[in-house]
Symmetry: D2
Subunit: 175 residues, 4 copies
Amino acid sequence: MGFAESMLLAYPGPLPHVDRIALTECIEACMESAQIATACAEACLSEPDLPELAECIRASLDCSDVAGTTAKVLSRHPGYDANLRRALLAACRAASALCAEQCERFAEAHRHCRVCAEACRRTEAACERARCSAGLCDAQRAGLTRRPRLPATCPAASHATTNGAVLPSMSTGGM
Amino acid sequence: MGFAESMLLAYPGPLPHVDRIALTECIEACMESAQIATACAEACLSEPDLPELAECIRASLDCSDVAGTTAKVLSRHPGYDANLRRALLAACRAASALCAEQCERFAEAHRHCRVCAEACRRTEAACERARCSAGLCDAQRAGLTRRPRLPATCPAASHATTNGAVLPSMSTGGM
Amino acid sequence: MGFAESMLLAYPGPLPHVDRIALTECIEACMESAQIATACAEACLSEPDLPELAECIRASLDCSDVAGTTAKVLSRHPGYDANLRRALLAACRAASALCAEQCERFAEAHRHCRVCAEACRRTEAACERARCSAGLCDAQRAGLTRRPRLPATCPAASHATTNGAVLPSMSTGGM
Amino acid sequence: MGFAESMLLAYPGPLPHVDRIALTECIEACMESAQIATACAEACLSEPDLPELAECIRASLDCSDVAGTTAKVLSRHPGYDANLRRALLAACRAASALCAEQCERFAEAHRHCRVCAEACRRTEAACERARCSAGLCDAQRAGLTRRPRLPATCPAASHATTNGAVLPSMSTGGM
């Protein structure tokens, strides 16, 4: 059992709106990519092709800061607040995606960029699962009609309690 | 001249999409409320009515973390990315509003809550101005028609440079 | 292989002064206790005996902040600088010890305090090993004479390159 | 009145060991250099001489992280703990000094480095004053004999309650 899950189980009180697995996976993914992105930016500073890596470094620094903060905020359980959690998970997903895109450009040349890209893609996915599991993803915000059939791309498909209506397409950039 | 503006003026290169005033005011407001919220949570821990202040403390801790990170990310100038900046400013606005709401409940009883609430309301407003000035706010996302009349609540009303032209719809990266 | 070690191995260039195992264990311990301490402070806020937990919450918040920052700084490899690394590892060790002491008081009553105390003790030890492995611990600062025999309590005993002198005792409050 | 001082005055309870001026000046200096150092690292990434600025960027990132955390920890008032406060102020002073040294090398060429260096020197001094005012500086740790006469370089000279002994010289690199 991961440390995040261990602490969640130790929480004194019910957490009725929380999908424990999605939440703890997201916290752990965020923490991992926060450290990996810091280390990647550092390694880039020592590369001979440093001038080409400037945008990659920026994206890594942003990702590290946002992912680290997201892990902290997700570790708190205030009375339910959709705005903050939704926006922060969207920010973290965006920061992770940007960092992954930048690092993927250099993944063949630099091993640290490959490791970072993979971690950021995991975090991007974990943030989206956490959003959906908390009822905060685009499909849910759009409003489910009778018999919603969630598109294949929506991670919530695996938590389906819906029954088949056609949903508006979920733009990947949305929150 | 504040230190944030001073550093922005020292930036080596053009920043065509940046509203310098809105950005630096937002950075400084975020930093201020990050520290004030930390201090408020601390002061609450010493109050005799601590059990009633638990939600206030949570909101202050979230606000401190999110505002501090927002100030850092806003200090960077990557190639223009709508998703991250928009989502993070939304998260910071939400965190600031929540903290202000909680602190306003105790503003009469506790001076530190009053100071914190005021700082958070300033940050909430500064985040919205920064979003609008970067073309990222809700009014703009909704799509403006000819002779845009921005709603009274939109801070961008005071920065109006439009004169009725049709604005392009905002990139799919919207929130 | 942990992610911290993975990134260290991917570093482009030699790191002659670095004990890879001690460093990566310290980074991972710091990150873990940073998140656990955040979660412990949160859980304390929901406990019925919250007023008794105020100092515990403070110590957890300090530990989370300091450990998180230590993990970031340790992920960087600037030209060798003794002052910063030594002082920061000392601060992290102190913050972890304080948090552990506070949480141990409530470990029987609250599971989250027990988990947190254990994590902080691991971080305390990891910081001391990292300091010693980098030649920054008190025994080494005191100056080794010929044939140093490191006291049993000094984690550096296992890295012995010394040859047997009696060292002054390492004060627990020292840096 | 600065916001840090405002919050300190609003603290519910006595703070007998706190030199309000030294503490609030230190908090505000730390916050300022945390943001300025972030902005300086960012600006360096856009400079044509980026490869020469790698160490400067590292030092700026370290300084930003450590100063930001120091401001947070100093905003808390736990039961008196010498180890953590002393070590953290030492770390912040070291990080600020390193960043200042690096930035001073490029101060003529890059305005953002000049602004950053000046801010870091202020923070370095503020950390030392805060250490001395809390009885944590090297001169005091060395143990005052009768009639201590603090050396001119010790910021505590202006808070003198001592009575004239000759102290061992205070090494600037000490902790």
